[in-house]
Symmetry: C2
Subunit: 336 residues, 2 copies
Amino acid sequence: MIIDCHGHYTTAPKELADWREQQIAALKDPILNPTKASLKISDDQIRESLEGAQLKMQRERGTDLTIFSPRAMGMSHHIGSELTSAAWSEVCNELIHRCCSLYPENFVGVCQLPQSPGVSPKNCIPELERCVKEYGFIGCNVNPDPSGGHWSDPALFDKDWWYPLFEKMVELGVPGMIHTSASCNHHFHATGAHYINGDTTAFMQFITSDIFKDFPTLKFIIPHGGGAVPYHWGRYRGLAQDMKRPPLKELVLNNVYFDTCVYHQAGIDLLLKVIPPENILFASEMVGAVRGIDPESGHHYDDTKRYIDANTTLSAADKQKIFRDNIKHVYPRFKI
Amino acid sequence: MIIDCHGHYTTAPKELADWREQQIAALKDPILNPTKASLKISDDQIRESLEGAQLKMQRERGTDLTIFSPRAMGMSHHIGSELTSAAWSEVCNELIHRCCSLYPENFVGVCQLPQSPGVSPKNCIPELERCVKEYGFIGCNVNPDPSGGHWSDPALFDKDWWYPLFEKMVELGVPGMIHTSASCNHHFHATGAHYINGDTTAFMQFITSDIFKDFPTLKFIIPHGGGAVPYHWGRYRGLAQDMKRPPLKELVLNNVYFDTCVYHQAGIDLLLKVIPPENILFASEMVGAVRGIDPESGHHYDDTKRYIDANTTLSAADKQKIFRDNIKHVYPRFKI
């Protein structure tokens, strides 16, 4: 069984985007504010949106199940208020639940949190609990920068700000995937800079803080192959050493996992060489940030299973950990 | 001959830091403002600061010359006003000039620009010209975020903001090394996140803009091995392709160079595999961000020459390009 831990519902029916557009219009004219019930998407529409995309690719690429969450770019926590984000998150999470209910063999849910700049992440707890307890979701996406590129809220190591959410994640047994969203800062291209910078930034916040001393069982997935981290693994080992912090293995590798969303063979080979296989989770982020076919390989850039299959240094047993076995340690609610 | 294109004067005599401290104190009490002449550092002090550090390491590691600029963290363009930055840059650049004059075989200068948040980079032109014409400097460090982690000024593709400086760089024949400085945003650890994020961010700004169409001979070095870029080379090729931009080779590789400040063998091997050798410049950033000895190798993390020497895929001729030959294309004012 091959589990892709990083997929977003990027192919949702157009009605979802229309609903969001109306919600944004309502920020200026509250009378326009759409009710949740006004979003009409049929089961057939959902089937159609998945059959020709994620499900087709699962079959073609030989993967079995995707840990599935709302579109990352769509979260856009910086838009509107806490209420905007709450309604939008509910709508998106409910749609993920419907996908998972229609295709229980193919999808397991992870929720978007109703984060909002300047608002404590503690306020996300009710939606997290609802998704986990009512919908059977197994994780959440944690945006380290709900301001969308201004990085104006407290960092992950801020105890007053983040710890209530982390406590609840531990209590529920759900990991968080670090994932920024759209950028409203002109410096940062979302998928080319803001996502990757968010991954790198979060990792460094883990190195310099005692989050995992305070929460020994809290787990985070850093997507996009860990941002810049594995490529600079020597730098991070050296920085931790210069700062008299424990070795990275001890400091973060009981709690941090990297996915395999790295879209070329040399990148995957580095990841598999540098990071212990126990800390890597298979992922492709399909259908996601990079959708084309690589003229150098003739295959989709994001068909990451091919790179892992073609890697010659890792044993079959270690690849099995990456494709499947590690999931049970990271997502304890997921009964494989 | 082996040229290290990325060294900062991190070992300057304490008098420099004292002067800066006084300058910062003067922001609250202008009467304290130090004159340039009040900074007293003797030639012997400069010799002493270099002999036991950069020069010793050049000898030990078998490198010959360092392209040398003021301490990157010290630039801290976010502190004070344009005038603060102007005086501080002059002081720092003059000290670099003295290092290069004392050891003309070992150092060639690159200047700090007197950038300041909210102030057009055009205002840096006089100091750039002074350093190039009077001191024989061959390049400049360009901070894509003088706000120190708030990313509040215009991006590199903003024509009104940046193009006058780029025009002058082209006219003078000097490249820019993209280099952020200290971070005053609690999210970003300077050497672990802000530097690397700055590199990645700048590269993506190059991909999405026409800077190199407008300035076909403008050259930038992206340090720290290009941030996250080579590790995610497939992602960047794919993003450019999805955006219907030209292939990266055509879009940026006539203008962008990556240094080799990657502090482990696997990272350097990836860099040397993925990026054409014509676009790589040898560098170590010693004495810099990571100063310890790697227990896994028994050598300094930042002794990057060892990794290149140990790399088995690149030919001796290609390594020679990285160690020396490419310099003449990137720094045309430097007569090797």
